[in-house]
């Protein structure tokens, strides 16, 4: 992210690296800055949230809370290049948070929000559904590791940094997930077993 035009203009006018702004201007600039980030990155973050939660309604709710926390911390996010990593960290922590899980557990009387019609993928021959079912069965933290590694395609070190865990933990959790995947349904989930034909 870059400075907003207003902020940059003020900085130039003062001849200083740090803009001199009143509180109202600062807040307006901050909101504009955040709004630009929200518009640019929201669809991608929603997709990650969906993979973490497994439903669009929960994903939207998780995204709203995570973006609210990011907004509250916006002034402390010094390196704009690192915002995505910070946002992912908030989202994963929020999804794993004890409060949220307790709160969700208490949500009994509320009517279920109807899910949108399941997305039909013409490439899905059943293996995708099986893989998705497998991902949904993983414990939250392990699932977050899998999502960051195999959807976000972060490196082991980047995943470890987002989750504030060791690289060794990322490796071992991924390894266990893949072992479980192989053991769970060796036929339907085996990439060599496609359309009923073994690939050489």
């Amino acid at each position: 992210m870059t400075d907003t035009a207003a902020g940059a203009a003020t900085a130039r006018a003062t001849g200083m690296g740090v803009p001199l702004m009143g509180p109202t201007t600062q807040r307006a600039d901050r909101d504009a800055d955040f709004s630009a980030y929200l518009a640019a990155r929201q669809p991608a973050l929603l997709r990650t949230a969906y993979l973490l939660t497994g439903s669009r309604a929960d994903a939207a709710d998780l995204l709203q809370t995570s973006m609210a926390k990011l907004y509250l911390a916006w002034d402390r996010v010094r390196e704009r290049e690192a915002v995505d990593a910070y946002a992912r960290r908030i989202m994963v922590n929020e999804h794993n948070s004890l409060w949220r899980r307790a709160w969700k557990r208490q949500e009994i009387a509320v009517d279920e929000v109807p899910e949108r019609a399941a997305h039909e993928d013409r490439y899905d021959d059943g293996r995708d559904a099986a893989l998705w079912s497998f991902v949904q069965s993983l414990p939250r933290r392990q699932r977050a590791i899998v999502v960051l590694r195999y959807y976000e395609e972060l490196s082991e070190a980047e995943t470890a940094d987002v989750l504030r865990i060791s690289v060794g933990t990322v490796k071992s959790q991924c390894s266990r997930a893949l072992a479980a995947l192989r053991a769970r349904a060796p036929q339907s989930l085996d990439p060599r077993h496609h359309d009923g034909q073994e690939q050489s």
Binding site: L38, P43, L51, S97, A102, V135
Partner: protein, 417 residues
């Protein structure tokens, strides 16, 4: 990537490739941010109440004021026999943070010492300070309990409603049930238990036989009782009878009120937004909720309403029974548990012990209590293990109740209020 990894990656991408929308606008984000800020403030207030009530217990034990046993209760000072405590090594030091420096909040593999010298419960049974157990006496959904007479005042959450009632040591429930917000707080010797419901202030005393309404708080929003000053709230019964109950308002306005047995309720120390710890000679509270969600606190002199010292590093949540030290938690209150626990010198704010969760040790403290002048008890949770940990003024730690595996939402340990 191997084939399995490739396949998994492709499946995940295909699962969400159709999602391109942006359900949120700035208004949605700002509205949720406002909710989070209000919830955090309320959590701080509720945490304050939970922490404050624990300052008392040793005084109860030492005074033997509650005749629950024919056997004399052991003096509090003998109970926390710290067996081979684990010293904590500072990872960094700062001259402004006292001798200990900040150390990881690591409660793994500690030695096990004496059981708590105050009463604790798993939610049903009460483990008394003398080692005896009153089995299956507390009602379900218990949120806090305080010894009173031959039983306990117990607060519960039943279908979202806070209730409080007296329970006998055989588990019989008193017929009278009152509503409450927040948790129970107790007087220094434990003879009076107080709570609030909406703007009403109530106390129970004389072994639970008297439940009285104190003057109501004339301020909107939710409230939470945080301290009771003395052992008899009935004005005129003795020459020095009459108590005061301190109450925090938790709504749009953060204020401290005091409801007195002299027939009035009024604002108390307008410099404070929340009272967080009280003793005879000093009190502590939050003076500022900052934009970045941190807080600043001060220890104040009740005779002059002047600040003795202040800090923006910790919230100050309970004086030791001798008022020599203060328990502190992190400056930011984030709801479920405190990842930072400190002991400060009450005279000048010197940080004696400062434990902080880090990437490796994501420990949270859900309840803090002074066991005696030199030891605090912490109900901790980390990685599926609950424990009651004893923390000394020198930073040494041991289990007062060894770890027990459990879900994060099924708390097995409650310390008495």
């Amino acid at each position: 990537m191997n084939e399995h990894e490739d396949d998994l990656s492709r499946a995940l991408h295909r699962k969400v490739n159709h999602l391109h929308d942006s359900p949120l606008g700035m208004n949605d984000v700002q509205a949720r941010a406002g909710t989070i800020q209000r919830r955090r403030r309320a959590a701080i207030g509720a945490g304050v109440a939970a922490a404050l009530v624990v300052v008392v217990p040793t005084a109860i034990v030492a005074a033997g004021g509650l005749d629950r046993s024919a056997e004399p209760l052991p003096p509090a000072s003998t109970a926390p026999s710290v067996t081979e405590p684990t010293p904590v090594e500072p990872t960094e030091s700062s001259p402004t943070r006292g001798p200990a420096g900040t150390v990881p909040f690591d409660v793994g593999g500690l030695p096990t010492g004496a059981p708590p010298a105050i009463e604790w419960s798993n939610g049903r049974d009460v483990h008394r300070a003398d080692g005896s157990v009153a089995a299956d006496v507390l009602p379900g959904e218990m949120t806090s309990f305080a010894p009173m007479g031959s039983g306990w005042m117990v607060s519960t959450n039943e279908n979202g409603n806070g209730l409080v009632r007296w329970v006998s040591d055989s588990g019989d429930l008193a017929e009278r049930v009152d509503r409450l917000d927040g948790t129970l707080v107790t007087s220094p010797q434990g003879e009076v238990v107080a709570w609030t419901f909406t703007n009403e202030v109530h106390i129970a005393q004389r072994n639970g036989d008297e439940i009285l309404a104190m003057p109501s708080i004339d301020a909107p929003g939710a409230h939470s009782a945080v301290a009771v000053t003395s052992e008899d709230c009935t004005e005129g019964r003795t020459t020095d009878a009459g108590c005061s109950v301190f109450v925090n308002t938790l709504g749009q306005q953060s204020q401290v009120w005091v409801s007195t047995a002299h027939g009035f309720a009024d604002r108390y120390d307008e410099e404070l937004q929340q009272l967080t710890a009280w003793s005879d000679g000093a009190y502590a509270g939050i003076t500022a909720f900052n934009e970045d969600l941190t807080t600043c606190s001060a220890v104040r002199d009740p005779s002059s309403y002047s600040t003795l010292w202040d800090t923006c590093d910790h919230r100050l949540v309970g004086f030791s029974p001798d008022a020599g030290h203060l328990l502190g938690v992190g400056s930011i209150g984030d709801g479920f548990a405190d990842g930072q626990v400190a002991i400060l010198d009450a005279a000048d704010g010197t940080v004696m012990v400062d434990l902080s969760s880090d990437e490796k040790h994501q420990t949270g403290a859900l309840q803090l209590a002074w066991e005696d002048d030199e030891h605090a008890l912490l109900v901790t949770y980390v990685d599926g293990d609950w424990a009651v940990v004893r923390l000394g003024l020198d930073g040494s730690m041991e289990y007062a109740v060894p770890p027990r595996a459990g879900s994060d939402v099924e708390r097995p340990f409650y310390l008495q209020s």
